[in-house]
């Protein structure tokens, strides 16, 4: 069990991390996502002990590890920057933690077997005699990854482990790494600026924005019930449509009013908004896959086709709606012409509403 209590990191006037409380159970993968500068790498470095937090505690198995030097924490970290040893071969880079003082002594043969198993796992077996300078970015990243996974660690920290790999390899390695990690009992932290990646591999996901945890939950919770507008902005492909407007009272109940359209709020949301006064600024969230394009005569917000991006089986239709763009994820088949009028059918939509000032979900 890894627990973080009230972690804070201050650099001069900037708060890189603010009051972060997180826990990762045995054999659990906690994904951490957020835009660049959110504090993901800072958090990783603090857990590994290569950086001391301004405040707060890191505990492993219930005991604080503050003051325990990195080499004695039993944390296997893969740095975002790889941090490979330029003078060592691929093999020796991966073998390095197994030969470090304090590591259980392994026979030459056992060590070779362990290292080569990992190099095969990340598909760089044929490169074991090369030095890092002779590798591509993606190959270096895989060497750094195997140097972390080769260890029998108490905690694994993978800071953007797959960001420089091509789509196909990223796709196959995701599942393979997850299976490998959850077989063991060690907690894992896995970060990525790509929310889709951590939602695919993690048991739970923490969304970090500006050093603050916006939400922690299972992938399904993060997808279905983002707790903050910052979370909604990061998840989904394409991400959720977020439209600013106000709540107003109408004959049939509360409505969301946007400069280009007005929408009755579903009763469940309206009940919660009742507390917030009508006239309050809010942000409406609509998932692209829940919107359908309609004919110009249909009811629903009316806009114009801004651009159509075909992506194979489906495509992304961007519709201009006043000053905003609304994105629809639609099955292929209907040809869309730039500039033509289109309405947006909201019948299948399950809208979300966020406070326009604080950003929290209503």
């Amino acid at each position: 069990m890894l627990t973080l209590h009230g972690l804070g990191q201050r650099w001069g006037d900037t708060l890189a991390l603010a009051d972060v409380d997180l826990s990762v159970g045995p054999g659990e993968i906690l994904g951490i996502t957020g835009p660049s500068g959110a504090g993901k790498s800072t958090l990783c470095r603090i857990v590994a002990g290569v950086q001391a937090p301004s405040r707060g505690l890191v505990c492993m198995a219930g005991a604080p590890v503050t003051g325990v030097p990195p080499e004695r924490r039993g944390v296997a970290i893969m740095f975002e920057s790889y941090a490979l040893y330029p003078h060592l071969t691929v093999f020796d880079n991966v073998a390095f933690p197994l030969r470090a003082p304090g590591a259980p002594r392994l026979g030459r043969e056992t060590l070779g077997k362990r290292v080569r198993e990992l190099l095969r796992f990340v598909e760089v077996a044929e490169l074991e005699d090369r030095r890092p300078v002779a590798l591509s970015g993606g190959q270096r990243q895989r060497v750094a990854l195997s140097r972390a996974l080769v260890q029998e660690a108490r905690v694994y920290v993978l800071d953007e482990p797959l960001s420089h790999l091509d789509a196909k390899l990223r796709h196959t390695l995701r599942g393979a790494i997850r299976r490998r990690l959850v077989r063991g009992r060690a907690p894992t932290i896995w970060t990525s600026p790509d929310a889709l990646e951590v939602l695919a591999v993690a048991d739970r996901v923490a969304v970090l924005v500006g050093g603050e945890v916006r939400q922690v939950g299972t992938p399904a919770e993060i997808y279905r019930r983002p707790a903050h507008v910052d979370v909604a902005r990061l998840v989904g492909d394409p991400p959720m449509n977020l439209l600013e407007g106000v709540v107003e009272a109408g004959p049939g109940g509360l409505r969301f009013r946007h400069p280009a359209f007005s929408l009755p709020l579903p009763p469940a949301i309206a009940a919660r908004v009742e507390a917030a006064r009508p006239g309050a600024r809010v942000v409406l969230g609509l998932r692209p896959a829940e919107l359908r394009p309609g004919r110009a005569a249909d009811s629903g917000p009316a806009g114009r086709v801004w651009v159509w991006e075909p992506l194979g089986r489906y495509g992304i239709l961007s519709v201009s709606l006043g000053a905003d763009l609304m994105r629809l994820k639609v099955e292929r088949g209907i040809p869309f012409k730039t500039g033509e009028p289109v309405t947006i059918d909201l019948d299948a939509a399950e809208p979300l509403l966020f406070d326009g000032v604080r950003g929290v979900a209503l």
Binding site: R179, W306, G312
Partner: protein, 365 residues
């Protein structure tokens, strides 16, 4: 504006043949994407069009006029770079005006053209901001403005989105597409990212090892990949490829391979009877496979769930068939599915047109 034609073009670096006998065209006003992995020859092709690299053999035409012998400056092409390549000490407006300033254009023309570009890109509020203070996406918009301000005959984009993350990337992707259409400028986009190429281009040229594999609309490439390379490169998750032998079972054809027989839908095998008892590779997109309990009646491969990847709108389930470490099939199902790692499942094929490739040449059958 100009149409582009590339005729029997080769690029050699010593003994290395970076581009081999390339024939390709882009009609006036369209966007052509050059797509492929690193080393496929896409960047060499772009550089030859820009005039930064010599053509080893062959001819390039703009509007059917040969330009191979023209210096870069005489071709009226503009480039948008991966790393923006802006002047960091200048403002947005100064960066955009720069190409006209160094050409000594009249004050009034520079002012008007710069304002037009700034309006087109929606950069009015940032015009006097130093570019260092801008986000990556805004910097790249300035890069595009600087390229457009010269009214080039051809606009060349070299991996314009690769330094951006998530939302910025998909936002600017749509914006470039719209801008390119509004400006009507013939454009060539180099990218290794199939999503980018599909989303933005009118025509996509897929290259591998210096050789053009296929050129067509995004829908063509997705629906009728010409060979195994294109089949694997286009689409996400990548197309499932099942090697095996076509066998006749009564009226139907089955694929014998991957430790089991897979019944192929009738629609998929029309016209393939002559291929019975030959080795092929069958390609199936993840959305054309279905999952059921292993006890379910019907024919299909059985396997075990290796990994379930939730994607919000759908789950991609990787199924291991033919034992551990053998083939893995990606199956896309509705979210949130009930399948979990280790579950035994039956995998079937929906009755749609499949893709069949010759196992030796890789060409579409």
């Amino acid at each position: 504006m100009a149409s582009i034609r590339i005729e029997q073009v080769w690029k050699r670096y010593g003994a290395v043949e970076a581009v081999r006998d390339l024939n390709l065209a882009c009609p006036d006003g369209l966007l052509l994407a050059l797509l492929g992995p690193s080393g496929c020859g896409k960047t060499s092709t772009l550089k030859m069009l820009a005039g930064i690299e010599d053509v080893s053999e062959g001819e390039l035409y703009f509007d059917e006029r040969p330009i191979t012998g023209l210096a870069a400056a005489a071709r009226n092409v503009a480039m948008v770079f991966e790393d923006y390549a802006l002047y960091p000490h200048l403002t947005v407006a100064q960066n955009i005006a720069f190409p006209l300033e160094i050409r000594g254009r009249p004050r009034e023309e520079i002012r008007r053209a710069t304002n037009e570009a700034i309006a087109l890109l929606g950069l009015e509020a940032l015009r006097d901001t130093g570019v260092r203070l801008l986000s990556g996406g805004a910097q790249q918009r300035v890069g595009i403005g600087r390229a457009l301000v010269r009214r080039p005959a051809v606009l060349l984009f070299d991996e314009p989105l690769s330094h951006l993350d998530g939302a910025q990337k998909s936002g600017l992707r749509a914006e470039i597409k719209r801008l390119q259409k509004d400006a009507g400028v013939t454009s060539v986009l180099v990218t290794h990212d199939q999503t980018e190429a599909m989303a933005m281009a009118d025509r996509v040229a897929v290259m591998d090892q210096g050789v053009l594999q296929q050129v067509g609309s995004p829908d063509d490439l997705y629906d009728r990949p010409a060979n195994l390379f294109v089949a694997q490169f286009i689409g996400e998750p990548p197309m499932n490829l099942l090697p095996g032998r076509l066998e006749r079972r009564g009226e139907r054809l089955v694929l014998d391979g991957m430790s089991g027989e897979l019944a192929l839908p009738a629609a998929a095998t029309a016209g393939l009877a002559g291929r019975a008892r030959t080795e092929v590779v069958v390609g199936v997109r993840s959305e054309h496979l279905w999952l059921a309990d292993p006890a379910a009646p019907g024919v299909g491969l059985t396997g075990a769930v290796f990994f379930r990847e939730p994607r919000g709108d759908s789950d991609v389930v990787l199924v291991e068939v033919g034992g551990p470490g053998a083939a893995r099939l990606a199956v896309e199902v509705e979210a949130a599915s009930r399948w979990r790692e280790g579950d035994r499942v039956r995998v079937g094929v929906t009755d749609v047109a499949l893709h069949v490739f010759d196992s030796t040449t890789g060409a579409r059958v």
